[in-house]
Symmetry: C2
Subunit: 431 residues, 2 copies
């Protein structure tokens, strides 16, 4: 199914990567195959040597054929009984009510059948059965959980700078070939950007792409939106002027995770696109200027967006420029200078230090080392992680006619990752 060599399609130069990955094109390819093949084949054959419930402990111990051990808390086992009374298999969802769960439960009797199945009888005579493979996947060890996390969320990033070799794939191929579509979404998740080439140069291709994923995200700018010079523009993007690095829609509580920009018409002069890996720059800032990083990860910035488009709107939001989760991990960049509000809800004495910190970050984004410049051609669709990759464009000459026209759309990461998992299942023929 590969119409081009993998090294061309995925020629991203990798700077700094997750623990498991090395640098260079060959390794991105390697990473891709690792993901394709999955790492769960080991679950299939591992049998159980022994299972026991130590007295006075609220867990059972499983000893595997390779000598390793897993511990499973009894309350978790009872909670996850897979019998039809406790679990609705058509919905793959728990029926057992939380109210009916005894958090201090212990097993009354445990049986190991054929090294493949553990049966537990509970004090009220209810019986639960667990397959060895099911248990192995859900082992509570740090290593097993890390593997499961990798499998479910593909959390690693491959950072890049100005020497990015933009990953490219033919639009037609990802539309009709599942393996290619899966590769597209894996690369989008890991690298943050993929260029799809060869779409028709007319409106409507993004709607098709939306159906390929599942569905697009509707916003106040409509199901898709037209980036071109407009009279009385309700957004700075709808002018001919330069747009500095920004993420789209930080005014929303949940900014769109993925952005799709389809070039329908391109100006001869100007209009070049720029992108930068915001996570890479945020990590650099953290090293170089921890105080600026601290300010940008702790200051709520007001955003505003008021106007009329799909319907009339008056949106207000607060976001941190560098958004971290409760564990301190960078999860999103929220920076759009145009929609940053005139209202600024911090004490006056914190204002100048904030601007200084943002300047440090903005300088990093715009440094020659980090930013990557390219020019979209009609039929190109750039797909990128709007939580991570900031984008901008150079200005171009205004005129009486529309000389540059992009169609844009958004999708949520939940929808994109859901499609990725479904495609993987189909491509690899595994659960």
């Amino acid at each position: 199914m590969w119409r081009l060599p993998v090294s061309v399609l995925l020629g991203t130069k990798v700077h700094s990567v997750t623990q498991h990955l090395l640098s260079g094109t060959a390794n991105l390819q390697c990473c891709w195959w690792r993901t394709v093949r999955g790492t769960h084949t080991g679950y299939m054959s591992m049998g159980i040597r022994k299972v026991e419930a130590p007295d006075a402990e609220h867990l059972i111990r499983v000893q595997w054929e390779d000598g390793s051990e897993s511990h499973y808390p009894c309350v978790w086992l009872r909670d996850n009984c897979q019998c039809p009374q406790c679990f609705l298999h058509s919905a793959k969802a728990r029926k057992l009510l939380f109210e009916d769960l005894d958090v201090d439960i212990v097993a009354k009797e445990i049986t190991l059948t054929d090294r493949k199945k553990v049966s537990i009888t509970w004090p009220d005579e209810h019986t639960s059965e667990y397959e060895a493979e099911w248990l192995k996947k859900r082992c509570f060890s740090e290593a097993a959980r890390a593997e499961m996390r990798e499998d479910l969320f593909l959390p690693g990033h491959e950072y890049w700078g100005s020497d990015l070799q933009l990953p490219k794939m033919p639009f037609e191929e990802i539309m009709y070939d599942d393996e290619s579509a899966y590769k597209w979404l894996c690369t989008l998740k890991k690298t943050g950007v993929v260029l799809l080439t060869g779409a028709a140069a007319r409106q409507g291709e993004l709607v098709k792409l939306g159906h390929r994923i599942g569905f697009l995200r509707l916003t106040f700018y409509g199901p898709t939106w037209q980036v071109q010079d407009k009279a009385d523009a309700n957004n700075v993007a709808y002018t001919t002027e330069k747009l500095c690095f920004h993420t789209d829609y930080p005014v929303l509580q949940h900014p769109p995770g993925v952005q799709l920009l389809h070039c329908i018409k391109q100006t001869a002069t100007g209009g070049e696109s720029e992108i930068v890996d915001g996570f890479h720059a945020a990590n650099k800032l953290k090293q170089q200027n921890p105080q600026a990083y601290q300010i940008l990860t702790s200051t709520a910035v007001d955003y505003t967006d008021v106007g009329v488009d799909y319907c009339d709107f008056a949106v207000q939001g607060k976001q941190r420029i560098i958004d971290v989760d409760y564990k301190g991990q960078v999860v999103r960049i929220n920076f759009n200078n145009a929609t940053r509000d005139t209202v600024f809800d911090i004490p006056a004495e914190e204002v100048r230090p904030f601007y200084a910190a943002l300047k440090e970050f903005n300088d990093l984004l715009n440094s020659k080392e980090h930013k990557f410049t390219y020019k979209l051609k009609p039929g190109d669709i750039v797909t990128f992680d709007n939580w991570r990759v900031l984008h901008g464009r150079k200005g171009y000459p205004p005129g009486s006619e529309v000389i540059r026209h992009l169609e844009g759309a958004y999708a949520d990461w939940d929808v994109v990752m859901s499609r990725l998992r479904r495609l993987r299942k189909r491509v690899l023929n595994r659960d």
Copy 2:
């Protein structure tokens, strides 16, 4: 425009409220009028007595006619120049590029005109003008910022328990009368639940309600979804069984903020609805069992949802049961026992303490003191805050026919709050 007395429409009993609010029906009414009238009329007439730029400070001081003072950092003033070169008025958005802003800027010359307008000339001779009213609104004092926050986000909650008097409003009225629609959304934000009565008992009313707000949130379950007993149910809600307290869709990174449930057909026996104020219960838990609260605000719980509906899907997510923002404020409850995954990504020794903590919280939710029971009638639409209010229903007898049918839909808080602000502007005729 009021067809029913306010005390009937908004008869919510208030337990514990924000600093500004007292208890009882009369005060909710008072709060409502406070919100309707706004608190910004004071901005209109306040003139400036004096404006100065102290040497060696990067701010200007404004002395108001009442003797009070506001300080504005120069960099913020320059950043928010409202001239057409720096600000795109058709989009109400900043044009000035961040790169072009000098964070160490100071004013070269300041002029006060007619006590109503401050003009600043900057070192490069660029001139900015600021209206007194514009400046007053954006004063950096804690009090002014709190007022602006209240105005933009209505952050206060009116907590309730089992003695809730469910706020009710006629569906027709909120559809056609802006003042009523505004009141509906204000109450939805503050109290978390409003029952709309008298809709037609057929599918499609929620789509109309969606247009009234702006647009609904599409999910894998479709634009709207039918809650009734289904063969091979892909969700536990699509059975006749009891549903314990839950929030919808915690598997999504951004669960729907508002839920709309329209009763089309109701069973004679069973099927009663239950709701509980999750924020109120979370606050109780924090007081009664800080350790359990700490566990539920810091443990990422895995959720899963796999199936086929609007399209095929395989969604995975991690949420904390009691979700707090980076300042430690409770912002969302994420609890759905059915879609809580069998995968649990925490060390084995933390499992039993987690279940014990969740039991404490679940007991509070289900206590007689907290839960409120009612039964929907055909034509009723319950609208509620899905981030705050947990809902459930009692089971009902299965049969060969559909004897109970609700239509459901979701909306995002961004969309609902946007409509609230637009309605307020129209009702109060103010910016």
